[in-house]
Structure formats: C-alpha cells, structure tokens
Symmetry: C2
Subunit: 362 residues, 2 copies
C-alpha cells in the first residue's frame, strides 16, 4: 500500500514498510556503502573521512531511522554477541535466581542469551547443546547441569558436578557457610546439633559436609552419627522438586525425634527440608526456637514467610549469576587468557526467628 514516491525520497515518508538498509542511507547521500559503514562503526579507517561528511552520514542515518541488521553483521564479523544458558528448568527458584544475575551482566555488556531447560534429560541436553552451537552462541553457562564431555566453546559452570578442563566453576564457599551457621548456633549455646546431608548426586553435598566436619572440629562440637541423616532424593525427576524435599524434611524430622538422642538444633541441607522438619517438630509438640533451633540453606522466598521465619544461610544467587557471566565475557574477550578454575562466592547468614538459645540454658 505504498504511495508512489514522487522523486528521490522527497515528501513525507509514506510508510517505512521496509527496514532501512545501509545501502539506502548511502544512496540517499550519494555516497558508497563503505563510507557509511566506516562512519557508523567509528572504524579507525574512518580517519580519512572529514568530520563534516561524518556528520552528514550520522544525520542521514538518524533521519531515515537506520538500524543495522544484526544478522548480517554477525555473519560478516563472525560474532553473535550471544551466549547459551543450559539449566534443568527455568521456572525453578535456584536457576531463576542465577539467571537473573546472568541477565543483568550480559545485557549490560550488549550480549543476549538463549536459554534451554533440559529437565535433567540427557538426550534433551545433547540436543540443545547442538542447537545452541548451530546458532553460533559464543559461549556457554551451565547452571546445575551435569556435563561429562569436554565442551567446544568457552564455558562457565554454576554449581557444577565435576571439574572440566578449561571450564571455570562458580561455587559457594562452603567453609564460610558452615562456619557462619555453626558459629551462630555455638554462640547461642548449642552443643548437640543434628544435620541433614544432601543427595549423593548433588555437587554441593560432599564439599559442604566436609566443611561442616571441619567447622565442627574448630568449634569443639561433636557430630553424632545418629543425628545426621542423608536425603535420598527419591526417584529421578522428582529428585529436586521442592515438594519432595519438603516431604523428606518432614519424615526426617520425625525420624530425628524418634531416635531419642537429644539435640537442640538442626542444620538442614536446604530451606525446603528445613521447613519440612519444622513442621514435624511443631507437630510433635515442641516449639521453635524455644525447644529446637533450625537453620536452613539457600534463603528461598518462603524462608522469610515461615512461621516462625527461618534463619538460613543465603546463597547470593544473583551475584553468582553475575560472576558467571562476567567470567564468561572475560574468556570471550581474552581467549586463551587467564581464567580462574574456580570462583568462590561468599554466603551470608540471615538471622530470623527460628534460632535461639537452647532450652537447658534458658
């Protein structure tokens, strides 16, 4: 439905039906595309082009509403300014939190990202890895995603399950986490503390446990094996669902109480199991924190809304995502450069109402 153009782009633009191309700007000015490109990119080769011409070019681009076509530019320059993100499931809290940080950092630096959720299925993971590569992403960020084959692209892993050559790992500092939680409990006067360990599959389980053992020793606390329970995770698929974790926390809470060995505090593996345990504890007639103190891990949203609200070790997910993205961009900027094998992020302790002095002290 374009009206005829009277003469050389005169008159009122009838409708910018088609996107304006570099060539159009050039034609409009009676210059070559080369010149326009040089000016628009502030290329060093534009040295030879006098300022007034440069001004003319920019004015025309502005006037015609010229926007470079990113696809064409990507093809020619072999740069897409896009990275791929692989994660189990985007709507799950942990991944979403990390992704928020990734996004902040990437967009700030002019990059976009493509996300694919593999739902912990190996074949989907392989497919998406392939598809992302075909789309020419420049690098990868894996969140909570197991990977055994070495990758053909620069990559950063958040909460990864193993070390891969050349891949940077972003992890929480478990030593600090354990020390924060246990020091807090010890200072309140707790001596007999129960623990939930993580699923054997989880990347964090082993390192966190070692940190707990070390911190306990430091603080002169004894660990009673009868008071340490390992989350199993149930069937694959449900393994990381919050409901599952909650249910297990609930069952384990009851189990702990049944053991008969006295304890005045529980340090859970994560918030959902802590919340499940809290329920079991309350149901048994004990009060939190008067009879039992509970410390969680993660600081999910629900933690603050519990009754009583949950004292917990916060993982700065946003920050972790940010760092992961920053590391990846660093790799992209300085290929073959120096990238740390591990970036350690400091957790913080969020004090709320689920912890207090043990009853024998009160």
């Amino acid at each position: 439905m374009n009206t005829a153009r009277p003469e050389e782009a005169s008159g009122q633009e009838p409708r910018p039906e088609r996107r304006v191309r570099l060539k159009d700007v050039a034609a409009h000015l009676g210059l070559s595309p080369t010149t326009v490109s040089l000016v628009m990119n502030r290329s060093p080769a534009a040295r030879g082009i006098p300022p007034e011409t440069q001004e003319r070019v920019r004015a025309a681009a502005e006037e015609l509403g010229y926007r470079p076509n990113f696809i064409a530019r990507s093809l020619r320059r072999q740069r897409t300014f896009a990275v791929g993100v692989l994660l189990p499931e985007i709507s799950e809290g942990y991944a979403a939190g990390v992704l928020g940080g990734i996004e902040d950092q990437l967009l700030q630096e002019g990059y976009f990202y493509l996300v694919a959720g593999h739902h912990s299925k190996q074949d989907l993971l392989d497919d998406y890895l392939q598809l992302l590569t075909e789309r020419s992403v420049e690098g990868l960020i894996l969140v909570n995603t197991p990977m055994d084959q070495p990758l053909s692209l620069p990559a950063v892993v958040v909460a990864g399950h193993r070390e891969l050559p050349g891949v940077t790992n972003v992890v929480i500092d478990h030593e600090v986490a354990a020390r924060l939680a246990l020091t807090h409990l010890a200072e309140l006067g707790h001596r007999r503390i129960a623990f939930f360990k993580g699923h054997p599959h989880s990347a964090d389980t082993e390192s966190r446990w070692q940190a707990i053992v070390a911190a306990s020793a430091e603080l002169g606390l004894e660990i009673d094996p009868r008071l340490t329970l390992q989350l199993s995770g149930g069937p694959v698929g449900e393994q990381f669902s919050p409901e599952e974790g909650y249910r297990e926390g609930h069952v384990f809470g009851q189990e702990l109480l049944a053991v008969g060995a006295p304890f005045s505090a529980l340090f859970a593996f994560n918030d959902v199991s802590a919340i499940g345990a809290m329920r079991a504890i309350v149901e048994s007639g004990l009060r939190i924190p008067d009879d039992v103190s509970v410390v969680g891990f993660d600081d999910i949203l629900s933690a603050a809304f519990q009754n009583p609200s949950l004292t917990t070790v916060r993982q700065p997910l946003h920050e972790m995502g940010r760092r992961a993205a920053a590391e990846l961009l660093h790799k992209l900027g300085a290929p073959g450069g120096d990238s740390p094998a591990t970036v350690t992020i400091e957790p913080t302790l969020v004090l709320r109402d689920s912890t207090g002095p043990p009853p024998d002290r009160a």
Copy 2:
C-alpha cells in the same frame, strides 16, 4: 583423530578447527553447493535429483559433521526462528513460571527466545524493544509489561494492562476464579467475608474485583466496605516485591481485626498478602481455620509450605506461557490470519488447610 584421506582434499586434516560449510560438503562430493543445499533442505526442487545422489549427499554431510550455519540461513531466508520476551524481572516467581511454559512450547517448535528484564523502567523497556528488533526477532511476548505504543511486530501479552490493536491477550478467567473461591467459602457456611483488592496499577485488579462483586451477588453474599481493603503497593520499585506484599498483608490483617466488624473469612488478592494476613491473625490469638479461614491467589511455592498450608486459587502459569507462545507461533504461521483478541485460562482451586467452617457453625 580422523585417519588421513588418501586422495581428493589430500593430507590428513590436521584439525577440524573450522566448522564444515556447505561448500566443503559440495567440494568433497564434486557437486555444486546448490545440489547439496537442495538435498539437505528436502526442497521440492530436489525432485529432479535421483535418490542415490541424495543418499550420497546425506552420507557425506553426516560423515563430515556438517551443521548448517543458522546465521547465514537466517540472513538469506529472512527468518530467525527467534522471539523476544519482555518481562519486569526474570527471577521473580510469576514471570519465571510463565516463562517456563513459553520455553516449553517454543523449543518444541524449533524456536529460541531472547529475554530482557526491564525492571519496570520505561527507558530500559524502550531500549530492549529496540535491541530485540535489531536482532530480528519475529515476534514478542510481553509478560506483565505495560505498553502503550502499538508494536511493529506480532505480539502476545500475558497479564497485560490494556488492549492493543492486533495483540492477543492471555488472561486468567476472573469470573471462574471468584466463583471457585467464594463458592467454597459459602459452602463451608461463611457469610461475612473480608477482601483485599489489588493495587490500582495492576491489570488484574479491576476485572477481578468486578468478578468478585458478581459472584457475591450470585451467591447472595453481601460485601461490607469496611471489610475490603485496597493494597497500595508502596513506592515504585518495591511495588511488586513479595516482601512489600507480605508486609501490607500483615498490616491489613491487623487493620481488619481492629475494625471490629465481624468476619469469618478473608479472600486475599494474592498469596503473599494472604500469608502476611495469616501472621497478623495468628498473632492476635485467633486460629486458622478454626476462627478465620483464608484463601489466597496464585499458588506460589510458599503457599503449600505455610502452617497451616494455604488454600488458594491457582493460576496455571506454565499453561498461560504455553498458550501465549502457541498463539504467537500461530500468528507467525498465518500472518493476517485469525487471532483471538483474548485467550482465557481457567484457574483451579487448591484446597489446603487454611479454610474450614466458620466458628459459629462449629
């Protein structure tokens, strides 16, 4: 570690450093790129190419590990198979839930998506809209994102704030939602019900309230103005933060109790305000659900973990995202075709422990 190829392209490939191009496959076979392209795309024009040649081509592509370059293809075909998603903040529960559904649907259909979180800032929103357009996304999905200007691309809006020409809106069925919640309460015997209304800015506020008024009339329930409080949302920025909603729920819960007008149930605007109100109610010495029943809205994760767990109207976020993506793909497939102006999604009532018969009936 390929064995050396004896002739034709002699020498052992030292390293498959470079990605294999269409041209390489063609050269390897002694055919033209055209032929290879035709075969690989199963183009109708490949009619003329005998099956055995086709087989040869496919075998060679497989052997050399040929993967078409998506960028080049996009440039030539003017199709990117990518859509843009704009939302306030990706790590927030509502958006993340919807995004999960969007992703499922899009990846299934071979599309990818670029996300940008505008943090409710107009200038960021404009910028990202621009950037997405430059990247040649084929369509847009706006989640919870106000938009006044008409868009230059096919678009679908989830929880939109106003009607835009040619844009499909995906919304929850407020009539059904109100009926579900109020019927449940009425059947339990509640007659005096308190309400929280949403922020005046929120898209859902007005339609939901109208639905509540209508359903109340249907059920013969009277609405007491003293028992309806409007969430204000506080300063911009904090406006949609869960903490803010929770705090307001808490304050409003206290306010309701102070009013003196009797009520036996509360239908909150969302789960976080419901949870805040529950806390206020419990703190005042009343018991849930024995003295007061509470119904939330959304079914966020925390709802199930409350003590008591929260009865609530569930918005099927995943489903909403799925439908939004499906509608957008439909528009892309059939441009100018028939797209509904509105897609209505049915909520469900999740019965938990925060509702029960009113005390005077017990």
